[in-house]
């Protein structure tokens, strides 16, 4: 299972990277979003999968999954949301401002 998820993460990262390297702004936003999901999965996997109960202290259970990656990922999800929003707005503002979404045309002047 862990191996399967890591391979899935690898595939998602590949797709995300390919999207980021393209010339179009929207694809870049989509790519960062996919990579965000992949990294979250990777962090969770590094804590071991399905090794115990959910990290809620109950009456009898003593064996829990690792709670630390979960806490890390929780923050990552929320930050990811904010970053996606910011990048999205940045992109569409750039698109509005310059009338193109082609990065090659958005290149700055040399020696600026």
């Amino acid at each position: 299972m862990d191996t399967l998820i890591v391979i899935l993460v690898g595939i998602l990262v590949t797709i995300g990277t390919y999207l980021i390297l393209s010339r179009h702004l929207l694809r870049i936003v989509l790519g960062t979003s996919i990579i965000g999901h992949a990294v979250n999965l990777l962090i969770i996997t590094s804590g071991g999968l399905k090794t115990g109960a959910a990290p809620l202290l109950g009456e009898k259970i003593t064996d829990f999954t690792d709670a630390l990656p979960q806490a890390l990922v929780l923050t990552a999800i929320v930050i990811n949301f904010a970053v996606t929003a910011l990048v999205l707005v940045l992109c569409y503002r750039a698109y509005q401002g310059f009338g193109t979404d082609d990065l090659e045309q958005l290149r700055g002047e040399e020696h600026e």
């Binding site: 959910a54 809620l56 923050t75 904010a82």
Partner: protein, 140 residues
Amino acid sequence: MKQNDVILQSVTRVAVVIILTFSFYLFMNGHHHPGGGFIGGLSTAAAIVLLYLSFGIDKVRENIRMDFKKLAAIGVLIAIGTGMTSVIFGKPFLTQAFDYFNLPIFGKTELASALIFDTGVALAVIGTAVNIILSISEDR
């Protein structure tokens, strides 16, 4: 931003109440069950966003007169404030305290300063999420 949409509006009326109640439950229960400031805050934000989507910005703005940017700032300030409180008591920054009290109706109840911190988190999350959505949808 939308035309009159009867079905969406009538569902929203009911659903928002349910979502808000549920998010309050999530928030309060966060200490012992799944939930907490982030989830509570986000689902509250989702409820507000639903309101905006179905009733339009102007109408909701008339009813909820609140600057969500300030709400987010207040949230961060509350979080920092709880941290500073522990400094005043001579503990390192952000030391949380908790204790059990016997309250009239609820019986033995745990009160934790972490809850205040979590309130700050929730307010910051609500403020930011709604602020982002509002800014974008206002941009015409």
